[in-house]
């Protein structure tokens, strides 16, 4: 009964979303007050329908209802209940439902906090969001219904992919989706502005906290994914330049550019058309990510659901949504140009360079991700672009970014003097060089380490200056400034972490039997014992590895090799001792005879700076989004 209810309300959500789009867009066009008033009501009704559908599916999972095909394919009676819940979005159909739920969540939030926007504009934004909802609901109902019955019922379920049976991965997709889908708000605002044919600082001010919130969620989501890959995939890598990872990283880069460009449009009324284009591009890249993951166009370790029919539908959706927005842009954006001029040396110019670098990085990653597809399409064979390409692109483009971020927050709008900007910067330059040299000496690094650590230290030393100027004033600095400073500090920490962790990690694959030891980077790893352990739905071999630094025992690690009973998949659970300065990592490989097992042992210095830096960026974004001037809701016209 409950699955039918879910299926029914999902069908109900479709006309509601269509009506939300119709009443919003046409209502704003006709200027009909009653239509405008109806739009938020329809948005809320649609959200309720999607929520009930989602809860129905969750209920089917919690009660392990194997008469539902999707449940039978992705759960098992032995599966612990938290994973039964996360299994709702563990595969294609359910993750689409989560997508739709998150979208209606954002829609309701827009409907709730629309005060301060003209009614017609808010209705248009809701209307565009309704159109996106229609697309996703149709997609689900036509190609990927999560409520399809399986009769007669399966006796036992196929269980959730063991890779996904992990707390990190249980919350990673929802966070990622909140980010992805959150950019739909900026997209809807941009399209609404194009329909109206004008861009003013009122809507850019209104758009900023929404974009920030989506960006924060995406940052956290990507960080969680990277952290998960590190401890769960068993290799100790934290980023693989896998197409699916790239799919989440591209909207992040575009979104980061959008945040900076929005600042210019809000403060100086410049870059209007560019900001609009970035808002469209950011959400389009989110859609593209969905397409890449779901269509099977690119094969990657992450692509667990591939189906050409689904791919074709998303492609059609991409054509309508992105093509429509870009056509509108082509026709209308020319009329948006204008805004205030600025001198060559100004904050505008620095932010323009920031935007260019981020956009080029994004384009390069898009190119690298899709290159195998292009090569295949023109008959050059199926080939892959490896991590070296991405690494090179990333480093070349982010190094100048790190240098500039030191000047950006110090520069003046409109016009600045290079002399003024450089004055006194020798202090920070000295600090950066000293810190970088010390770190390079400590890790016995080369020129790469030196450049990376100097740049990272430079960022940290310079971005705190504007905040430091508040100290003698004895005033509380605005949250936006604190947020920006934290986020930029995160960039510095990230640069330090990425440099040291990539260039100075040590790893060895060794065969050990109980009682044997291995020394790596000054740490002694002693294999105490290997014993079998029994989990709820898996069997495992667990090692006990003691780690010593000299005479002192630091920790005991317990890496496991699990076999999940239903799918017979081996999984590696690494034993990790996390620290600010270094991570100790031991993963079990295979038995290699004579009581020996292979182990992968790693010592990774400053690894936590990478995720710590990313989380600082997210925290900074959160603070900035909650700045007072965004909360008031009043609109100051420019």
């Amino acid at each position: 009964m409950i699955p039918e209810l879910g299926h029914f309300v999902l069908w109900l959500a479709l006309p509601l979303a269509a009506a939300q789009a119709l009443f919003g867009i046409v209502g704003a066009h006709r200027g009909s007050a009653s239509w405008l008033a109806l739009t938020p009501v329809l948005a809320r009704a649609q959200a309720w329908a999607v929520l009930i559908a989602f809860l129905s599916l969750a209920y089917a999972f919690l009660t392990v209802d194997f008469t539902v095909l999707y449940v039978a394919a992705n759960a098992n009676s032995q599966l612990p209940w938290p994973y039964r819940l996360s299994a709702v979005w563990g595969a294609h159909e359910g993750s689409l439902l989560l997508w739709a739920l998150v979208l209606s969540g954002w829609t309701v939030a827009v409907a709730r906090f629309r005060s301060g926007l003209p009614d017609a504009f808010a209705a248009r934004v809701l209307g565009v969001l309704g159109l996106i909802s229609v697309g996703f609901l149709l997609f689900m109902l036509m190609t990927s219904n999560p409520f399809t019955r399986l009769l007669p019922a399966a006796v036992e379920g196929r269980d959730l992919n063991p890779l996904l049976q992990d707390p990190g991965l249980a919350i990673h997709p929802p966070m990622l989706y909140v980010g992805y889908v959150g950019f739909s708000v900026a997209f809807a605002i941009a399209v609404a502005a194009l329909i109206e044919g004008r861009v003013d600082s009122a809507w850019t001010r209104w758009a900023r906290p929404w974009t920030l919130a989506a960006w924060v969620a995406l940052t956290v989501g990507i960080t969680l994914g990277s952290w998960w890959a590190y401890y769960e995939l068993g290799w100790g890598g934290w980023w693989f330049w896998d197409p699916v990872e790239n799919a989440s990283f591209m909207p992040w880069l575009a979104g980061t550019a959008l945040l900076h460009s929005l600042a210019v449009t809000e403060q100086r009324d410049a870059f209007r058309a560019w900001t609009i284009l970035l808002a469209i591009a950011t959400f389009s890249l989110s859609l593209l990510g969905t397409f890449l993951v779901r269509s099977g166009v690119l094969i990657s370790v992450h692509a667990f659901a591939t189906d050409p029919a689904r791919g074709l539908f998303i492609l059609a959706f991409l054509v309508v949504a992105v093509g429509g927005a870009l056509t509108l842009y082509a026709i209308r954006a020319g009329t948006l140009a204008g805004g205030s001029g600025f001198a060559l040396m100004s904050r505008e110019t620095l932010l323009l360079i920031n935007n260019l670098l981020l956009a080029v990085a994004c384009a390069a990653i898009l190119w690298g991700t899709l290159y195998p597809l292009f090569a295949d399409a023109v008959g050059a064979g199926k080939i892959s672009v490896g991590p070296p390409w991405f690494g090179l692109v990333f480093v070349t483009l982010t190094a100048p970014l790190a240098l500039l971020v030191g000047f950006g927050p110090l520069s003046h709008w409109k016009r600045d003097e290079p002399r003024r900007l450089l004055e006194g910067r020798w202090v920070q330059a000295l600090i950066a060089v000293a810190a970088g040299a010390a770190l390079t000496w400590h890790y016995d690094g080369g020129i790469g380490t030196l450049i990376g650590t100097v740049l990272g230290s430079w960022v940290i030393a310079t971005v705190t200056i504007p905040l430091a100027r508040y100290l003698p004033l004895r005033r509380v600095p605005p949250r936006q400034l604190v947020g920006m400073t934290l986020a930029h500090l995160g960039v510095g920490a990230f640069a330090l972490g990425i440099t040291v962790a990539s260039l100075h990690s040590e790893h060895r694959d060794v065969a050990l039997r109980a009682g044997e030891r291995y020394e790596l980077s000054g740490y002694i790893f002693v294999l105490e014992s290997i014993r079998p352990v029994q989990g709820p739905n898996y069997q495992a071999q667990e090692s006990s590895v003691q780690v010593f630094a000299g005479e002192d025992m630091i920790t005991t690690l317990h890496p496991q090799k699990r076999i999940y009973l239903v799918q017979q998949n081996p999984m590696t659970e690494a034993g990790i001792d996390a620290g600010i300065t270094r991570d100790l990592f031991v993963a079990m490989g295979e038995p290699v005879g004579e009581g020996r097992w292979s182990f992968r042992i790693q010592v990774k210095p400053m690894l936590r700076f990478i995720w710590g830096g990313a989380l600082l960026m997210a925290l900074g974004g959160l603070l900035a989004a909650s700045d007072r001037r965004y909360r008031r809701g009043e609109v100051v016209s420019a």
Partner: protein
């Protein structure tokens, strides 16, 4: 209306064109040009001894699995126990193609985790991989006694994939041959 404002739309149109072509090609199957065609020939240094070369021809006459792997590849680490099991079963020899790898790391991995391969060819720059239409590791090809590619499995092999996809095909090849 300015012409350059149409540029983003143009980019989208080009992208969509490639996607439409890409969608009609299933990346999990062999490019149709290679099905039942002779496996692309190669001569490569051996991983264990780069001074000697190896080619697949030396091992033909009976069906053989060609496994494309690399020490950098997550999926290969995952499928390794299955390969060890296949190798121990004696059902079919496995010919390794170490793809775009650091030979030192690859040798060390085999030394510590076990070596399921009869012999491993070292394809450092991935040229042979390109000939074979390799998108990424791991990929496993089934080559028949006459050196024709008969089947390709993309992604890490599981015990189930071995049992249900590869083994029946290998047995069918044997029937065919005898």
């Amino acid at each position: 209306m300015k012409l350059r404002m149409f540029l983003p739309l143009l980019v989208l149109v080009v992208l969509i064109g490639f996607f439409i072509v890409g969608l009609q090609r299933d990346p999990t199957v062999l490019p149709s040009a290679l099905i039942d065609q002779p496996a692309p020939a190669f001569v490569l240094p051996r991983l264990d001894d780069p001074s000697r070369t190896t080619s697949l021809d030396e091992y033909l006459g009976a069906p053989v699995l060609v496994n494309v792997w690399g020490s950098w590849c997550v999926g290969c680490w995952q499928e390794h126990p299955v390969l060890m099991m296949i190798s121990a079963s004696g059902e079919i020899p496995i010919y390794g193609l170490d793809y775009k790898d650091d030979p030192q790391a690859a040798r060390q991995l085999l030394a510590t985790s076990g070596d399921p391969y009869t012999v491993t060819a070292f394809d450092g720059d991935g040229r042979v991989g390109i000939d074979w239409g390799v998108y990424g590791a791991p990929e496993t090809f089934l080559v028949d006694a006459d050196g024709r590619i008969r089947f390709k499995y993309v992604g890490p092999l599981s015990e189930r994939a071995w049992r249900e996809e590869l083994l029946p095909r290998i047995r069918a090849l044997r029937e065919e041959g005898s």
